[in-house]
């Protein structure tokens, strides 16, 4: 009955009863339980207040009180709850609601009383409250100086924050002096009190100090609600903290790290990816590659990526994102101060270290003439691991496959070298075959190898022809189109695309052939991903001839239009 249903049914129900009950329960938020509960409800409450204001501003004060009889009690209680007043924009909305209820022409004592009460509340919120004795002493002094409560509270909060920061920092380095130790429960309480104030810029030094605070206890000292709220504000770019504070947050609070990683993935998969520059930019902004310098963080992010890839059935967009992330991660590692480096095993604990080392070499670190050799080395190492009988379970195989897949740059280069090198060892093709078809219980990989070998040989025969027709190429790969194996199709498409990009004759029919591929098969995403990756790689490593670059740009433009 007191739900305050507006006449207009499009206005959402305003549940005053619920919030009033809550407000009474919370009192002035003096117990830990009530404090936690308030913090939990702050965002919803703000939304509710906002909706209330939107409704009130079209009504006059008398109508408002008639329609929402509980509103007075509710606003009154909320104004005395510092968590509510301190949160985000709630204080603004509270004040606006109060303004709406103020009557400019009170007709009776009740309205007069209501007016008086509203002014008291506003005074309480904004300046000296007659009920607070401490305030009365200083308010005359402050205004005699020519300042207002706005100036006063600015200075006051600044002083409180710097005092707390000093105390926390001193305590951190003062572990021997047990008497002065700040108790764990107090730090926990402080973190909870900070929750509504996270977006107040004055608090940033305190937030950072708390995030970097380690009291020596093995359990987490800071309140998890606080950590979650800080993470949320960081992800939504509502506040900006130092990198070390953010890394500390993710390091100490697993849900925050997960949330940040998933948020990054969401952000990227919703982007229209036609260039990896944008992807790299977004990933760098997220600070996750930098944070991943901590092995613990890296391992968790890696797990999340692995799961994401499984859930999307190996979607090429997701794979590309992961590959870019790993590239950026390596870049950060190399730029960082060598002193703080963790051993490789910390990041890749379950893997064959020589393989990891081989994969971590960035292509540009080696002269291009050495690439064949290096790829053969990777392939041979991998082959010996995989054909070892210990690797039997799917999980183990997936682990190894994922490791290799993360370093997709080398795979792409392998495919390229297959085209460009005069004589390419079988090992390269094997590597690609493994990537596209890791399992071999039923000889799937072997089959893939055989079929793609056949196509490859035919492509090599056509490679040096300067003039090539659509039909010629079509004829060569006709068998490939018939294959039902998805893996084989993928691999062959990869080879074909590279052929079109790098061979002399392929250029002229490239547009046409790629259109044909995208129309007749469902390889369009793979082709798109491959072109984008290749463009990115060429841009950063250079060394490619103009003809290829030009063709690549044209192809990408056309694809961007079609998508």
């Amino acid at each position: 009955m007191h739900c305050g249903m507006a006449q207009d049914t499009t206005v959402p129900k305003l549940n005053f009863k619920f919030w009033l009950d809550k407000a009474i329960e919370w009192g002035q938020a003096t117990t830990l339980e009530s404090q936690k509960d308030v913090c939990l409800h702050l965002p919803q409450l703000q939304e509710f207040l906002h909706q209330t204001y939107e409704t009130l501003k079209h009504m006059n004060s008398i109508a408002a009180i008639q329609q929402f009889p509980l509103i007075g009690q509710l606003l009154g209680r909320l104004c005395w709850n510092p968590f509510v007043v301190g949160y985000d924009e709630s204080q603004k909305t509270l004040m606006w609601c109060l303004c709406c209820l103020y009557s400019s022409e009170p007709q009776n004592p009740v309205e007069l009383k209501a007016n008086s009460w509203i002014r008291s509340l506003l005074c309480h919120l904004l300046s000296s409250s007659k009920w607070e004795r401490i305030e009365a002493e200083t308010s005359t002094f402050i205004s005699a100086l020519g300042y207002t409560s706005a100036d006063y509270y600015c200075h006051l909060v600044e002083n409180i924050v710097s005092s707390l920061v000093t105390e926390l920092r001193e305590n951190q380095f003062n572990e021997l002096n047990i008497q002065e130790r700040i108790s764990v429960s107090r730090v926990n309480a402080v973190s909870l009190f900070c929750l509504p104030l996270i977006t107040l810029p004055d608090l940033t030094p305190l937030l950072e100090t708390l995030l970097l605070y380690h009291g020596g206890a093995s359990k987490e000292i800071l309140s998890s609600e606080f950590l979650e709220a800080v993470n949320d504000a960081v992800l939504k770019k509502k506040i900006s903290l130092s990198e070390s504070a953010i890394f500390s947050l993710w390091h100490r609070h697993l849900p925050s790290l997960e949330s940040a990683t998933l948020s990054l993935l969401d952000q990227l998969t919703s982007l229209q990816i036609n260039s990896l520059e944008k992807v790299a930019c977004v990933i760098k902004d997220s600070l996750l590659p930098q944070a991943a310098s901590h092995p613990a963080i890296f391992r968790i992010v890696n797990e999340i990526f692995k799961n994401a890839l499984l859930e999307t059935d190996g979607a090429p967009e997701v794979m590309t994102i992961i590959q870019v992330f790993i590239q950026l991660f390596i870049q950060v590692q190399q730029n960082e101060n060598k002193q703080h480096k963790f051993p490789l095993k910390a990041y890749f604990p379950h893997h064959h270290q020589p393989l990891v080392i081989a994969l971590l070499r960035r292509p540009f670190e080696l002269p291009s003439t050495h690439w064949l050799q290096h790829l053969k080395h990777i392939s041979d190492t991998l082959k010996s691991i995989v054909e070892d009988t210990n690797v039997s379970s799917f999980a183990d195989l997936y682990e190894i496959w994922f490791l290799v897949a993360c370093f997709g740059e080398w795979l792409d280069i392998a495919a390229e070298q297959l085209m460009k090198a005069a004589v390419a060892p079988d090992a390269l093709l094997w590597l690609l075959a493994f990537y596209y078809c890791p399992q071999n219980e039923n000889q799937q990989r072997t089959q893939t190898m055989v079929e793609s070998q056949a196509v490859y040989s035919r492509l090599m025969m056509l490679y040096n022809r300067t003039v090539l027709s659509f039909g010629d190429l079509q004829a060569s790969v006709n068998n490939a189109a018939d294959t039902e194996q998805c893996h084989t199709q993928c691999l062959i498409t990869h080879l074909l695309t590279n052929f079109l990009l790098f061979s002399s004759g392929g250029h002229m029919i490239a547009q046409e052939f790629i259109s044909h591929i995208t129309e007749t098969t469902d390889m369009s995403k793979e082709v798109c991903s491959l072109l984008i990756r290749t463009a990115y790689r060429i841009k950063h490593n250079g060394g490619e001839n103009q003809r290829t670059v030009k063709l690549l740009n044209e192809l990408l433009q056309k694809l961007a239009v079609e998508v």
């Binding site: 510092p82 007043v85 301190g86 400019s104 300046s127 205004s143 002083n159 707390l164 009190f193 107040l200």
Partner: protein
Amino acid sequence: MFSSANRMTNLRPCWLGLVLVPGARRVLRSNRRRQGCQRGVMEAVLGQVAELPALLAVSRSALVRDWDPPTLDRALEWARYFQHLHDRFRSRPQLRDALRRRLRRGEAGSPLSFRHLGGCSELLGLALLENRALPPAACRRLLQRLLQGEAGFELGRLAPLARRKAASYLLEGSALFPGKPGPRVCAEAGLLLCRLREDGREAGAALGWLGPVLEQLPQPRAFAVVAEALLRQGCGGGDGDSSAGGQAGGAEAGSVAGALLSWLLEDLHRFSACSLLLPGTLLASLAGRYAQLSRRYLDLLAEWGSHLLYDPLQGRWVKSRSEEAKLCWEELRERFGCLCQGSVQLREQTQAALKLLKARDGDFQVCGLSVWTDLLLEVEEDLRKKQSPNV
């Protein structure tokens, strides 16, 4: 606030007259005219600025009961105009000083300053909000303008104000602030310093308003605030020279410290009360920074010490019955102890003072004859212990 309005028994409502005259605002636009007129313009501006005290006083008085919304609007417009003057003249020292002098010409000891011009909108708005005599219609208009950002009136700092107030409530209880002045004292000291610094090098000017302003606080609080302000100022804040470890002359640390010291030291009763109320450690810190203060403080301690008598039955020094005896032996000893824990200069000065007093008393070496002998012995014992703690 109401008391200050009541004091002004013959309130000239002449600013109201200005307000009601439609052409008042046109004066502003005559800036374009040449030399002779500019002086005239300036005088007109000065005349308007002189109305600021009355405006603020009226806003706190019962006179507002006759205000209707248009009057309120005009009052707020005047406040905005004053604020505009402040912003324009802030970086033009001559004009600023002229305005300042005009404001001060009002009531004796009137503390209104250039600062008041700058904060006028807020000062006025909040004062009116608290003034219960303001009728509903005008109040409604005030609320709209204050809080809803109509017609260029900034919501600006009021939302953060409420937020910060809540923040201080949430966090103040959490911190222990061991052995330090609370954050409120620090905030008040900070604002006092800001105001003094705004006044710049006009040391004499500060004396006019500092006393009445500090009287708004209860004495213990006032002393704490001034002490904190002096500490901050002596730490290299503000006007240039940061005295490294030594005792800076008040004048060098700028007229800011000078003004505060003058207030503290000019009246003997006041300084005496201050020295009794503030802890020995704090006074020692101040003495370390300000030579004038250390001298006066030592003199004061000498005065108090001279009222101690030796009680041979109890074997210790006790306060004489005289009213002048303010400190007991333990307290006196603690004070001297704090002074000796300060900088080298301060310690030497203290020891020298004690030696001199001891000599005047007859230079006794034995305990129980001169309070200064005994004090010196104890102080030197402490220092020895500190240097070789193994003993």
